[in-house]
Point group: C2
Chain length 236, copies 2
Amino acid sequence: MAYELFYWTGIQGRGEFVRLALEEAGADYTDVAREKGDDVLMPLMKEAKTPPFAPPFLRDGDVLVGQVALILHYLGPKLGLVSADPVEALWTHQIQLTMTDFVAEIHDVHHPIGVGAYYEDQKEEAARRAEEFRADRIPKFLGWFERILSKNDKSGYLVGSALSYADLSLFQIVEGLNYAFPRLMKASSKDWPKAMALSSKIRQRPNIAAYCTSNRRLPFNKNGIFRHYAELDAAD
Amino acid sequence: MAYELFYWTGIQGRGEFVRLALEEAGADYTDVAREKGDDVLMPLMKEAKTPPFAPPFLRDGDVLVGQVALILHYLGPKLGLVSADPVEALWTHQIQLTMTDFVAEIHDVHHPIGVGAYYEDQKEEAARRAEEFRADRIPKFLGWFERILSKNDKSGYLVGSALSYADLSLFQIVEGLNYAFPRLMKASSKDWPKAMALSSKIRQRPNIAAYCTSNRRLPFNKNGIFRHYAELDAAD
């Protein structure tokens, strides 16, 4: 039976981390809201016996799983996208959870006051938060991925000797940052050569390349997590 | 061999969610930095083969695990604090991950502009963020826990028929919110009767009660995640 992915239409958003794993594996899946509309989401969040707090969530028969990192932890072994070694699988999950933290921070740069107000109503606060984000947080997170890749230098992947879902998520983060902060990334990408090389390698994988040129891959836009507001990017 | 917990001294912080599980289970553990100082933390984050991004992390022999929710997912079966049923264990992990998101939001109320600046230098922004937090986010998260407890009404626990680490974490969140937002919690706790009842039940468990009166339980303070600033709380 096909996996059913539930996520808001109109944006890549957090659902994209799950899509990339399903696409890389060539898995049979339905992007349910894109077929039936966003109205399919709320009933499950109310009526399910184990109601997810927010999209994305995945239904696999009787099992309903929410939280991106947990969906990937669940799918990893089924899609061949995580090591069979339990300690390596644990480490992959830990990396993904740290990516979750990073993604939340990336979102909050344009919404420091909260999700309820428009960006336009928190531009000054966003500009202030973006300073620290550019100066400290981007280097801290990207530097961490770079350090992990340096410690695992033989394979070029984040964990062990093979591709995992965490590598696909790193690709998505790099793509998103390139879109949202092009000047900053252009100026700093030399500082994370291994992360950039891994990201380029993922981009060229046949299933990912095919997906990225398909109409299933929505373009980045100003409703998603990664948003390009020139005033939040580094100076020229 | 004793579990080794690594976390900053001086605050309960995120480490407390792990401590409560270890204490409830009567596990043999060392709170390493409290014995040797905070200087023990950084070397592991630099030199470990799988370097955690930030404290807390747990060392169990050769295994090093970071991220609160993952530490609890790892310890759960060993401490008898999660269901042996894999789908229930997955659900417990999902609840804990949503608590992680909630805890990050609770922290960001007093630090909306970033962790690098003092609260005193972002008081206006914090006041603005706190409005949405009180009006929308607290009800959304506490309402979600309440809904889960209503769906699992027979046991009074979050998952299945027995205590799990997620119940202990809910207790910690309620205690922290009571400290940080006493007026808001006093006014709203009638809206989440099941969550409040579970929290009270946890507080009375012998090992938790003993721990909470021991000197291992630090008081809440203005350096931790849960901070009491009267100006961020609800009006009288």
